[in-house]
Each structure stands twice: as C-alpha cells, then as structure tokens.
Symmetry: C2
Subunit: 508 residues, 2 copies
C-alpha cells in the first residue's frame, strides 16, 4: 500500500472498513455499546442527528396528511400467530416477558416471582402490525372512518446475536406508519407516496442518492403483498436498505378482522399499508459520507452546522473574544435555513484550540470558524469547511459570512450528495454473464477483502439456480429499481426470460 | 339534586367524577385501553397534546443547558440491587424478560424457547438511574467532564393492577433528566432549577396553579436524599403529583461508582440529580379544566387552537365556502403565537355542521369558527369560545379576528389558570385541630362520596400517630410548600413541634 497522509481515524477506510466505522462513531461520540447485550447508548451528538431526522420526517408525514399516535410496547404472544407469514418472520428472536414481579429468593437475591408468571407471555414489539390492527378493527366500522393515516415514533426490539451500532441493534428507534384504506388502489397509492417521501428525504436531507424499487418475493416483509425499499450504497460498495414501504393487501385486515361497511351497505375487508425507517439511517449517513478524519455530516442533519472556536493567547483577551463570539453566534442563529434557523454554537471549554478543532472535525461539523483578536480587529472570521481539507482555511469578513452561510451550507449539502452519487455511479455495472457477475462479487484484494464489488444491474428470474449462486456469493437482490427501463433479457443463472434488471449487491 | 341543563358528558362531574373522567377521554378521542392489560393506546388528539408538552419542555430543557440522549430499554436485574433503597422501591411490579426466542412447542403453538432462557433476567426500565449511572461512571473521569446535563424521552413500565388512563398505566411515556455534578451545592441548584422549570411549565403552559414543595421522608423517591414535587389540585379536590425533581446526593454515584478527579488530583464521588414528568400530565390537564360538555384545553397545548366549520345548505355552495375557509385557515396559520404559529384547521368531513361542532366542543378546541355564505358576504366569522357557554357565539369581521386571535387565545389560557386557581384557593383551608382535620377528609355527601375535602394546610411532625391517622383517612402529605412561611406550631396528631405547615390531601 502507498504511503498515507496522517489521518485522525485509524484504521482508515482502505485499511479496515468495519473497524473504521466503529472508530468514527467513537471519535464523534455518537453512540456506544451498553451493559445490556445488543442495546446501544445513543450519545447527545448521535441523538441530535436523530432529532433532526425526526423533525424533518415528521413534518413530511404531516404534510402528507398523517397524524401521530402511540400503541403499546407489548404484544400478546398469540397476536403474532394471527398472520401466517408474519409469525414465520417475527416470532423468532424477540424479548419475551414472562413475569411481572421480582422478589427476594431463598438466597436473598432478586428473582422473577414464580407467583407472577403471566398466563400469556408478552413480546416486546418487533413491529406493531398485529397490535395496531387489533385496535383499528375497533375504530373502523364504515367507509366514513377511512382512510386511517397514522404514524408512531417508537422503540422496537429484535434480538440480535451480532449487534453493530446503528446498523443492527437489539433495541432500535424508528417510526412505523400504519394506514387503512377502502380500496387496493388507495392503499397502493399510499405505499408509493411514502416510498416517495423516503426517497426525497434520503436524497435531499441525508444527501444519499438512494435507489427506490421493489423487493423480490424472497425479500418481502413477512405478511406483505409487496415491499418497496430505498437502497443506498456505502463507501465499501455494500448496499444498505434504508427504509421500506409495504402494501399489505388484505392479509393483516383479515388477520385482525378490519372490516367496513361500504356505501352500498356491504361489509368488506380493508386494505392496509405499513412503512418505516429507523436509527439505521444514522449508520447510513456515517458510511456514505465520512472520511479518514472522521464523521462528515450533511448540514441538514448536523446537530450544529457552525461551530465557533475562540482563539486567544493571553487570559486578558478571553473576555473580549468570548463576547465577540457570543454576538457572532447570536447573529448566525438568526439566519433562516431549511425549515428553521442556522444552528451555531461557540466552544468555550477550557482546552487547546487545536484540540477543539480536531474534535469538531471528527464530529463532522460542516463549518468551523476560528475567531481571535486579529480576526476581531478585521471584523472577520477564519473559516474551514468539513468537505475540504482541514488546513484549507480562509478569512471571510463577518458580514459576508452572515450573508453567505446558507449558500455555503447548501453547497456542502449538495456536494456530499454529488460525491456519493459519483461513487455509486462508478460502482454500478451492467453485468450480462454469470462469469463476470461472479468475478465482480469475489474479493480480489487479499489485504482488504471487505471492499469489492458494487451494484450489479442484471437480468434475473425466480429460480433455485439463482438462489443457490447468490447464497454462495453472499449477494442479495436489493431491488428492482422503480426508475429502471423495461428491457428484454435472460436471467444470468437460470436463463429464464426477464423484463427488467434488478440490483444485486452485498449488503448490511 | 337540582335539575340540570343537558350536558354532553354523562355522568357529570357532580354525579360521578371518576366515570366523568373516563367519558371525557372517550368523547375527546384521547386514549383507550389496549388489548394488553394496563397499557393504553394514545389516539391522535391525545398524542397531539403530548407533542405540545414535549416541544415546550424540550425547549425549556435546552434553554437551561441540557442535551438529549437515549439509554437502553432493558436493565439487568442485578443493577436494581445496587442501591439499597432503590431496590425496595422499584424491584417490585415490573416487566421481566426471561427469554429471547419463541418457538413452536409440542402442541404446535408458540412458546418461549427453553433454550433461550437468559442467564440474567432483564427488567423493562421502571426508571433509569441504575443503567444511566453505569454509563456515566465511564464518561466521568475528571472535573472537566462535569457537569453532565442529559435528558431522555422514553417509555417506562411499572406493572399496574388498577390502571387508569393517563394517571396510572403499566407503560407510560415520560422524560427523565439525569445530571452529574462536582459538588452538592451544584446538584441542589440543578434540582431546584428543574423544579422551577416544571412549576413555570405547569402554570404557564398547562394553566394549572401547581404548588412546588418538598416531599416528606416517607414520600421520597427510593434512593433520593430529597425529593421535590409540583402538586396540582383537580376538580374533585384531590391532589395530583405532576412532576418530581430529586437530589440524589452521592447515593447513586456510590452505587454506580461515578468518581472524578478534582483540580487537586483527589478522587471524589460525584453528586447526581434526576427529574421527570410523564403522560400523567395529560390526566392533570383533563381533570383541572374540563367541564360537563367534555374536554377543555389550554390553548398552548391544544393540538388545534382554532377549528373552522364550513356551513352550507346547498351542495352548490360547498366549493366557494370551502375555498373561503381554506384561505382563512391559511391566514390564521400565519399568525405568530407562543413559540410558533396559531394552529388552525378546517373540518371538511361529510357530516352535519352541528355534529361537527359538538365533536370540537367535546375535544376542547379553544376557538370554533362557523363560516357560511352569509358570513362570507359580510367577510366575517361566527365565533364560539370553549371557555364560554356553547350557544354564546358572536360575529366578528374576519380582519378583526385575525388581529385579535392571539389576544383571545391568551385570554382563554389565563382565564383557565385563574379559574383553576380560584377553585384551589376555595378548597384550601388552614386546619389547626385534629377534629376539623378528620371532618374535612370524611365524606359527608352519601350521593357523591368522591368529592370532598381539599388541601389542608396543617402543622405536622414525623410520628407514628400521624402516620396511622393519615392511613386511616387515606390522606397523604403532598408537600411542604416552598413558598409557605416559617411558623411555629404543633403537629395535629402527635403534638410535636413544627416550623412549617404541610399540604395534606387525598391524591391520585
């Protein structure tokens, strides 16, 4: 390997991508493992990103006619059995509550009180279709009660044997939309509308050029008629499923008995959808944009977009520098950006300016401003951008900075999107024969087997031959892209006819 | 009983207060029981109130220097044993997770897989001091790491045998602040600061004239050195604890080993606090303000503050009335109020105007506007206020309404506060002898035994005699009011000397 410029994160992406990911999270103080296996602690900087994700998505949900509500954390075990495919998919690794009291045992230590054994165990929700469906069946009587357009922000639990911060944790936070409609057409329209919301959000807020598309039968949500997804590509060229929208047909309406009387007095089963994104999105943001100096954040989700670092040598200069910085932050915080104001702060901690600067680099703050007595004398700020090399600093008159800060933030936002899109395009290949396909997904770099492949656009058909080959290569069909053209072709492995290419990739 | 004017809620407050409470919740579509015992479904209108509570409190927490983070849902059982008093208080009625997998049993039905039995059971958090303390012990090394000022918005579970919507549910939603400080003084200052935030919030946002004060030893949070509370009085003259702020001393720092090196290099245990409010606040809002026509909401927490009801007789009028209403709502939504804009909406549902009106009355919408062709011709609206009789409607020119809407909302907000304060003052009595005290708390209305008593301000001292009498009367000491004067006196039951009156009441 060639000699490298010193980087703040070791190992680098090239050296060891999975470890680089962990180190970025640690250096940015985003999250950490907790004493409870598989559960994470989301630290304030990581939570700040989630707050921005929530605020923007929540607004988009409300703008498309949805309301929020809240349903129970627990699901009676029998509810999971109501929908045949659903039980296969979710009644597996989950947290099972069996007792409702602790008591001191014979050894004086706490134990679950045997007398408090529940008649029916409760499952900590892995997803809420069944418990929400039960409630909806009471709410829906007539066509006048439809549509129901509800979302909930909640924590869910799916036991994980190999947890990975943000990407795969036992407990994670998400939103789950659950809607009920009178017709299949309306339910499908809703499914696609929310896929559109997710696509828009991922592209314009997270700066990730996701590909919307439909999942194949084998990758569907358990119980869904069709599942749609947005797929992002990370810097190791693996795909990340970043959100799903499910057309559930009448499967859950039948399982939960959601029926309504139509205008003609007939009783019909309703049509339902569900859709969700989770804290996994933060993992996507980290992996799509960050570099070997740490986290790189799209301004629209950065908890702080501008960080002011006061610089002074003499203790006597401190008060006036702080005062100038406070005033500056106040001015910046008054500038409109996106749905609110620019988020700026000043770092007054008692530590070296250089150390502070490196912390903010590693935390991915989009714009850093150094302000010392000399800058004050010129009424200017010394500006660095996270999307440029860290030594690349320019003096900008204060007034000019205030006038251009939103343009700079937009530039950074768009630049990150374009950089990610260029990476994705460079790693996307149309592959038309089995041999090339296999080579594409076979590690050929012994020093760094993790990074290889990319997105293969190939023809396919449901067939055991295809399935066997994919299992061998550890490749999955990510989706059949909504935006892809119709095209005649043949499945690479079965030779069966195909009318549209699918995206194949290794994935998280 | 005297003859009554017809009311929308049956029974009335006078007739049966507990049932009136349930009916108000049902009629306003705030929440309902779920299929999981003790857990509730919070419906969109109820959730909208909680969103407003969250938004305002979250801003107040951030304005006082706090950040949000997120900690695990589960707590290892052994953690509860770390703090001696805490285990007494919380290791009782809780949800115990013992297995992490389901499987089909011999009968084909699901069961917790015996092979997935956890080595150590996990408790669904009833409160998070122990799990957060464990994490803090890793974060805190030096005095430079202090203070830690963190809050989390989360769900918690305390098994409930007699659940009551919002007031006492097995799962509830809350925020819990957890802070760490270098000195006792700073920790106590934080404790009192957050009590102040809660007091301000309850009074100015919820329009409830709460009394801040300190809990007596018997009512303290398990593990706290001192507990402070805000106590509200409901319309049945019972007290409701609406928020608590705890000075935990070094108890949890010792239990979790939170130590720091001070400026002189000495290792010291830190000082911690915790503070929380929950969805119980919504129960308080319902019981403090609502009337026999249903929910009455303080404008600052109302999901919608203005509801426009289009009125038309001919289908041909519909389009122009809707158009006028849409324009009006847009104008109202553009008026600044509190931290944002006025929240207005138009009810275009296909049902009778009168039925719509009654729904919005029962839902507590502060201002209703009826708009029909005649109003349009005059460019005016027909306005009704929820704090006035429902027939009391006035025509207001549209322009004037837009200019005065915030004044009217403020008037309603303040009016609700003053009405609740007058009720509290009328029900607050200084009591100086045991006989009067007993009579005060003894039901004397056989037809309606629930409503009696109120807040008794009396001298007290810790003594078994007092405790026995309170237990007999089902009365508790709510708090020693922060704002009460120092005064010499004697405990009504033990005769021991006392320097300050406490507030005694029956309570939720």
């Amino acid at each position: 390997m060639s000699k490298k410029i010193e980087s703040a994160i070791k190992p680098t992406r090239e050296e060891n991508y999975p470890e680089w990911y962990q180190e970025v999270i640690k250096a940015a103080e985003l999250a950490e493992a907790s004493p409870v296996r598989g559960c994470m602690v989301i630290r304030p900087w990581g939570w700040g990103i989630w707050e921005n994700v929530q605020a923007k998505l929540d607004k988009m949900f409300k703008d498309t006619g949805h309301q929020n509500a809240y349903f129970p954390l627990f699901i009676p075990m029998s509810f999971l059995e109501k929908e045949a495919s659903h039980v296969q998919g979710f009644a597996k690794e989950c947290a099972v509550v069996t007792h409702h009291r602790l008591e001191a045992g014979p050894d004086g230590k706490l134990r679950p009180a045997p007398s408090s054994l529940l008649e029916e165990p409760l499952i900590v929700r892995p997803t809420s279709e069944t418990i929400i469906g039960e409630t909806y069946s009471k709410w829906v009587q007539s066509y006048r009660d439809l549509p129901i357009l509800i979302n909930q922000w909640a924590n869910v639990v799916r036991w994980e044997m190999r947890p990975r911060l943000f990407l795969r944790t036992a407990e994670f936070l998400w939103q789950e939309g659950h809607t009920v409609h009178a017709t299949a057409e309306e339910a499908m329209e809703e499914t696609m509308k929310m896929l559109g919301v997710y696509t828009d959000f991922a592209r314009n807020t997270l700066a990730i050029p996701v590909i919307p598309g439909e999942k194949t039968a084998g990758e569907r949500f358990p119980g869904a008629v069709s599942t749609f997804t947005i797929e992002g590509m990370m810097q190791d060229r693996k795909a990340l499923q970043m959100g799903t929208s499910h057309f559930l047909g009448q499967n859950f309406a039948k399982a939960s008995n959601i029926k309504f009387q139509d205008k003609d007095g007939k009783m019909l089963h309703a049509w339902t959808t569900s859709w969700g994104v989770s804290t996994r999105l933060i993992g996507g943001v980290i992996m799509a944009h960050s570099d070997d100096d740490g986290l790189v954040l799209p301004p629209r989700v950065a908890p702080k977009q501008v960080m002011v670092v006061p610089i002074f040598r003499e203790e006597s200069e401190k008060a006036s520098v702080f005062e100038y910085c406070d005033k500056l932050v106040k001015e910046i915080n008054d500038v409109n950006f996106a749905d609110g104001k620019v988020r700026a702060d000043v770092d007054k901690r008692d530590m070296r300016g250089g150390d502070k600067n490196w912390q903010h680099i590693k935390k991915g703050v989009p714009i850093r401003l150094e302000v010392g007595p000399r800058d004050m004398a010129n009424d200017s700020v010394f500006m660095a951008r996270r999307d440029k090399p860290h030594r690349d600093k320019v003096a900008v008159p204060r007034e000019q900075f205030l006038k251009t800060v939103t343009t700079i933030l937009d530039e950074i936002q768009l630049g990150l999107y374009e950089r990610a899109l260029a990476r994705r395009e460079a790693a996307t290949v149309e592959i038309n024969d089995a041999k090339t396909f296999e080579a594409f997904f076979t590690p050929n770099n012994p020093g760094n087997p993790e990074i290889h492949g990319g997105l293969a656009l190939s023809h396919w058909a449901e067939d055991p031959k295809l399935e066997a080959k994919l299992a061998e290569l550890k490749v999955t069909i990510r989706c059949i892209p909504s935006e892809g053209p119709e095209e005649q072709g043949k499945c690479l492995f079965s030779g069966k006819p195909s009318t549209k290419r699918a995206i194949f990739a290794k994935a998280y």
